[in-house]
Symmetry: C2
Subunit: 311 residues, 2 copies
Amino acid sequence: MSATRPFTIACIQDGVLPDRTATVDATVARIRDAHDKGAQVIVLKELFDAPYFCKKLDQARFGLAEPVDGPTIARMRALAAELAVVLIVPFYERQAPGLYRNSAAVIDADGTLLGLYRKMHIPHDPLFEEKYYFAPGESAAVAQPAGCPGPARQAGGFMVWETRYAAIGVLICWDQWYPEAARITALLGADVLVYPTAIGWHPAEKATFGDAQVSAWRTAQRAHAIANGVFVAAPNRAGFEAEAGTDGIEFFGHSFVSDPFGRLIADAGTEPTTLIATCDPALIEDTRRNWPFLRDRRVDAYRPILERWLA
Amino acid sequence: MSATRPFTIACIQDGVLPDRTATVDATVARIRDAHDKGAQVIVLKELFDAPYFCKKLDQARFGLAEPVDGPTIARMRALAAELAVVLIVPFYERQAPGLYRNSAAVIDADGTLLGLYRKMHIPHDPLFEEKYYFAPGESAAVAQPAGCPGPARQAGGFMVWETRYAAIGVLICWDQWYPEAARITALLGADVLVYPTAIGWHPAEKATFGDAQVSAWRTAQRAHAIANGVFVAAPNRAGFEAEAGTDGIEFFGHSFVSDPFGRLIADAGTEPTTLIATCDPALIEDTRRNWPFLRDRRVDAYRPILERWLA
């Protein structure tokens, strides 16, 4: 069941404060503000309550992970229920001793924890050492946390969540570079794909590549909107984070919401801000009727996409 | 074997003249001009030597099709050999009585006809009635015309051609909206994806949707460059074509060449022109090393992409 009425989505673009409680407090204030401005679905940045700790390998940082039944998600569930908003809460999940994930909790507008999406594509680059910190999501259906209803539909580790206001496809950051992930999640019936993100500039690269990196980041995701006829909402981290022995990372913001034809309907610069956009599901069907891409997919011909290389 | 040295590609953006001979003559002059400016690989627009005849159903228009061993391709082969250029020649192919294709002949720089790519994704929209005129390409390997060596590699109907100057992935127009086609063709080892195109504005839509349509068209294809780390070259038709009983189509040009990070390195407006751009294959590897997307594909998880809908 996709949304039948327009829904209003917010992307919270911000950084973190020196301790977790202060960061969560600030985020709660931003969520309340977004709700006051009409937001019904509110999406936070990747790993919302922690510094981007993957900048180097440090065993102690596994300690930043928190179980899904820990205090942070509990607080977000209470807030969702109080405000009657859907919250997408990306966090560092402690699943078991020695098993940690880059996850997003999907909380419905009555405070129900619907379940978790676990990031499928894990990067590994200088200052983005995520393969050290995160086990990837599974390619098969797996049990959700105890008591959670789970996604409405899933396939290959990709998931769509039926919430009070919209059918939401949750993906995380590096997933955004993979058209396969967007396609499968859209085919699962999403009205909107959300991409909580932590992407930034290496200070030494910014002058030469900074603009092109922002453009590539937006272009890849706007193309998912176009190819699939869905809304896309991408909240990114903002601000500089230091790391001893490195130049740090300047998270570049530039969060946005795209309509199903790739048009930006809300977009940010580099400063902390909250984007709010109303998404009319009627535009999904209208867009898909005008240029009916889904009809003409050659599903008989795509099997080679299951290979890593064909040359 | 991908290219090891930079190659120079040209996109010829033009319209057609009232008769085929005049159109081919004009195209030959443009090809000579592109060669004089250094082009080694020259790509023509979709159905280069015919008006865009798919604007309505008319049985007589099947008569526009010509066999691959007909005079037009013969003339292009001789020209390729004379100038030592690779030519991508999209044309209306008569394969057998009652069986016609939207094809592209791939001609190597010694005049060898390497073979044909046949358009896989066939649109069907007001004034773009292509399902009437064209059988789609096959999802399995099929014999190439007699005497042709065929593509260097193929999978699912998608093909890469080893030419003197570059490994070329040929796709046609509506194919450009399908990330699956770009992905498979890139995995076959293409240095560049080429998309001969005939896309235009319905005059009644232009004021409201014209800019967004151009932007969506470019964005979708620049995203293929980014996701796959390949060059993309898209020559579009230009100029107005009338059709009795309709408002006609204003083909919108805006041809472009994108580098592997989605940056435009050559781009056109609406007027006839020839774009020329040099593509350095070293940039492909450099781009893929900086943000190594190909490494992290979840080929274990993409099987659901073989379905048409999952909800």
